[in-house]
Structure formats: C-alpha cells, structure tokens
C-alpha cells in the first residue's frame, strides 16, 4: 500500500503512522522506533496485549503445518518467539531463518534464543523483506508477524516472499487489522491512542514509538485489502482468520 502522492521534492511518499514521509525515509524512521523499544519489546507486548500475542502466535504455529525437515523463514522475527517454536518443530534436519531489518531487534532475538539453547538449526539474517537475500523456491513456510505494516512497499515484500517460497509453500501474515465489531472498534481506538502511549512512556520512556504503533495499525490495509494484495501477488487459496474480534488477523496463502 505505497502512497503514490508526490512530496515537494517529487519523491513518492508513504505513510509513517498518520504522517506522510518520503519513501526513502520510512525504513530509517521505523528502525529508530524499533531501536528504541527493542530492549523492552517482549515486556511491552505482554503488557499491551495482556498476553494475547502469545495466543495469536500460537494459532499461527498451528496453521503453519510445519514438519520435521522443513525450511522456515520468519521475517521481522524480532525477539524470536515464532522462530523458537519453529526450531523445535523442524528438528535437527530442518532449518529456521530469523530475518529482521533491524539490527537491535535481531540482536535481542539472537541473544534470547541462544540463552534458551536454540542454536543448532537456526540462522540470523539482517534482511529487508522487500529484497529477501535467498534463492527462489527455497522455503516451505514463510511467516511475518506484526512486521508487514512497517514495510515501505508491501506489494514488493509479498512478491519477494512468494519468490522464496517453494511451490506448495505457505505464507502466513499475522498482523493487526480492522475490528469487526463497532463497539469493540471504539474501545480499541480509545485503548490504542490513550493507554498505549501512556504505557510506552511509563515503561520505555518513549510515548512516541507507541503512538506510531497505534497509528501504523490504523494505516495498515484491512483484512479484505490484504487478501486481495496477496492474490494479486500470485498466492493461491488465500484465506484469513480474525482473532479477538478482528483486532488481529492471520492471512494464509499458498504458492501455486
């Protein structure tokens, strides 16, 4: 969902939260946000979602259908929640690649997984989701959890994920979405714009990053739009599952 409006310097712009910024600056600005929150990312996830993010990720694992010997790519893998589970599922004959564009997040994830003893079958790669540095038809499963909304050119990223997947491979996109219930939507808006920045201020002393989080969620394509983006990119049998009244949706597509 790249915004094609032109800025004063004629460079295409895209949204960064509710602001419009030149496309070349978004990645840098997102990186600043994640450098700032990396150290307390897990704690904040637990506080802000009330632990629900664990169940959303659990459901993602269930739908992944990952088996022993599979090769899995976890993009925007951050602190390695999904990668740790995948590492256990693929076993010693499989491989998990935890990729993140942000060095700080990747470092936190790598240290955390090494501390847990997850090391044999996992690799850490600093990579841009739009230009994945992997061969074609390489992975059995690609996941991106709470990362796609931070990508500047989402269509390019989805196409890149399609390229690295083997035919029959699965892409799973776990992302905040649009609540399906009007009342829930109102409660969620109040929660996002009042409570989240406040908690960000109290725990990480950074309200701005959590304001960006709330804004970026609103700017992210809704369930049907993301589904059509995946279909346009070339995915087959694209379905989505709403969780917690649509606050989060899990999209799944198969590479034909």
């Amino acid at each position: 969902m790249t915004d094609q409006r032109k800025g004063s310097d004629a460079e295409p712009t895209t949204h960064f939260g509710f602001k419009n910024v030149p496309q070349s600056q978004k990645a840098e600005k997102v990186a600043e946000v994640f450098h700032s929150v990396a150290a307390k990312y897990d704690l904040m996830n637990d506080v802000l979602s009330g632990g629900m993010h664990r169940l959303w990720k659990r459901f993602t694992i269930e739908l992944s259908g990952v088996r022993t010997g599979n090769r899995v790519l976890d993009i925007a893998g951050g602190t390695g929640d999904l990668a740790a589970k995948f590492s256990r599922l693929v076993g010693p004959t499989g491989q998990v690649v935890l990729a993140d564009i942000n060095g700080s997040m990747l470092k936190v994830g790598r240290d955390r997984l090494l501390d847990k003893g997850v090391a044999d079958n996992i690799e850490f790669v600093q990579a841009d989701a739009e230009k994945l540095p992997f061969p074609d038809n390489h992975f059995d499963c690609v996941t991106i959890a709470f990362g796609l909304r931070n990508v500047t050119r989402k269509e390019d990223a989805i196409r890149s994920m399609l390229r690295v997947l083997k035919p029959g491979g699965r892409l799973l996109v776990l992302e905040f979405s649009k609540p399906t219930n009007a009342l829930m939507s109102k409660v969620y808006d109040t929660y996002s714009f009042a409570f989240m920045p406040l908690m960000g201020k109290l725990i990480t002393n950074d309200a701005e990053s959590y304001r960006y989080l709330a804004e970026s969620i609103r700017m992210h394509p809704d369930q049907e739009t993301l589904k059509s983006m995946m279909v346009e990119a070339g995915f087959d049998r694209v379905t989505y599952h709403n969780m917690t009244s649509g606050i989060v949706a899990l999209h799944r597509g198969i590479k034909p």
Binding site: M52, F59, E62, R67, R170
Partner: protein, 207 residues
C-alpha cells in the same frame, strides 16, 4: 481463542510435570516430528499432540497430516488414559485408530512410566535442608494414613461379618457359592435325564 488459552495452560503444566521425570523428555525425543490427532466424537473436539524432547505441544488444529489418528468418545479416551491394559480398549468397537499406532502406544508408555521427582522440585523452592524434613514428614504421614485406612477397612469388614452378622464372610460366601454351583449342575443333569427319558417314552420316536 478460549480453548487455545486453556490448552496453552495445560501444555505448560504438563511439560512442567514431564520435566520432573529424568527419562520422559529423552524418550519423547524419539517421537520428535510425529503428529497425533485425538478426535473426540462425543463431545465433538479435536486435539493434536506433537511430542518432542522439550515436552508436548498441544494444538486445536494442525495444518499438516497426522501420523496417527485416534477417534473415540470421551468415555473411551478417559478409559484409555487411565487403564493399564490399553490394548483391550483400543480393540473395543467405539475406538478407531488410523495410521501408525506405535506412535500413540509409545506416547502412552512414556506417560504411564512417569516417576516424578517431587522432592527435587520442592528443593528448588525450599532448599536442601527443609526439603528432606518436609518430605520425610509427608512420607511418614502418608504411610500412617495408608496403614490406618487398611486397618479400618479390615476391622470394619470383620465387625460387619463376624460380630454384627450384617454381611456374610468371604469364606462363608464362597462355601455357599460352591453349594449353589453344585446344585445348579445337579439340576442341569436331572433336566438332561428327564429329557432323555421323555424321548425314550415318546411313541413317535420308537416308530
């Protein structure tokens, strides 16, 4: 989501218990990569179990095909979980098993052979001095209660059969059952004789 949350809690607790046994996780490691589907027919509920050397992963759905599917009503599943003779239950008509049954049997054997080291877990919380004191006290209490219960059971049985004569004693009952068995066999013999006699007196037979 509610069920998934519940399963996550059960899984966490179960894996904590499995870690108390020194061999369970190593044995579960041999089942790494296997998927067991438990399909409860009444009430309708499906559960997937994925064993690994880190414990069990429980899921409400699994996109990949299961290696072994067990389909049965809740009562049979409960029986299967508690019974020592699992083969007999697996052969009952309500229970259907598809795929590699060895996977299920291996998992059941690991769970059945659990020998949990509660003292170790307790010592992590209370330290090496308090733990033997508490566990020793608990063990002697348990033994005392066990003996007390056995003794109460025996005394009550003796009182009811010997003193109050409310119940028949075991030996007395066995003697009476033997007499009844003998009478039943005698009756059957008598009946057979009558039948033979009546057949021999029947004129149509003689003709």
């Amino acid at each position: 989501m509610l069920l998934a949350g519940l399963l996550a809690g059960v899984e966490r607790g179960l894996n904590r218990v499995l870690r108390l046994d020194s061999t369970a996780l190593a044995r579960l490691g041999h089942l790494n990569g296997k998927v067991i589907a438990v399909d409860c027919t009444r009430p309708a509920l499906q559960l997937f179990i994925l064993p690994s050397d880190e414990g069990l992963l429980l899921a409400t759905q699994w996109a990949a095909e299961a290696d072994c599917t067990l389909r049965a009503p809740a009562s049979s599943l409960l029986n299967l979980a508690l019974s020592r003779n699992k083969t007999a239950i697996l052969h009952s008509p309500q229970v259907h098993l598809e795929g590699e049954s060895a996977v299920l049997m291996d998992l059941a054997a690991v769970l059945q052979d659990l020998e949990l080291d509660w003292e170790y877990e307790l010592s992590r919380w209370l330290g090496p001095v308090a733990t033997p004191l508490i566990s020793g006290h608990l063990r002697s209490r348990a033994q005392w209660y066990q003996q007390g219960f056995a003794s109460l059971n025996q005394n009550l049985a003796e009182y009811l059969s010997e003193e109050a004569r409310t119940l028949v004693g075991e030996r007395e009952a066995q003697a009476r059952f033997r007499e009844l068995d003998k009478a039943k066999i005698d009756l059957e013999r008598l009946e057979a004789r009558f039948e033979r006699l009546s057949r021999s007196l029947d004129p149509s037979d003689n003709a």
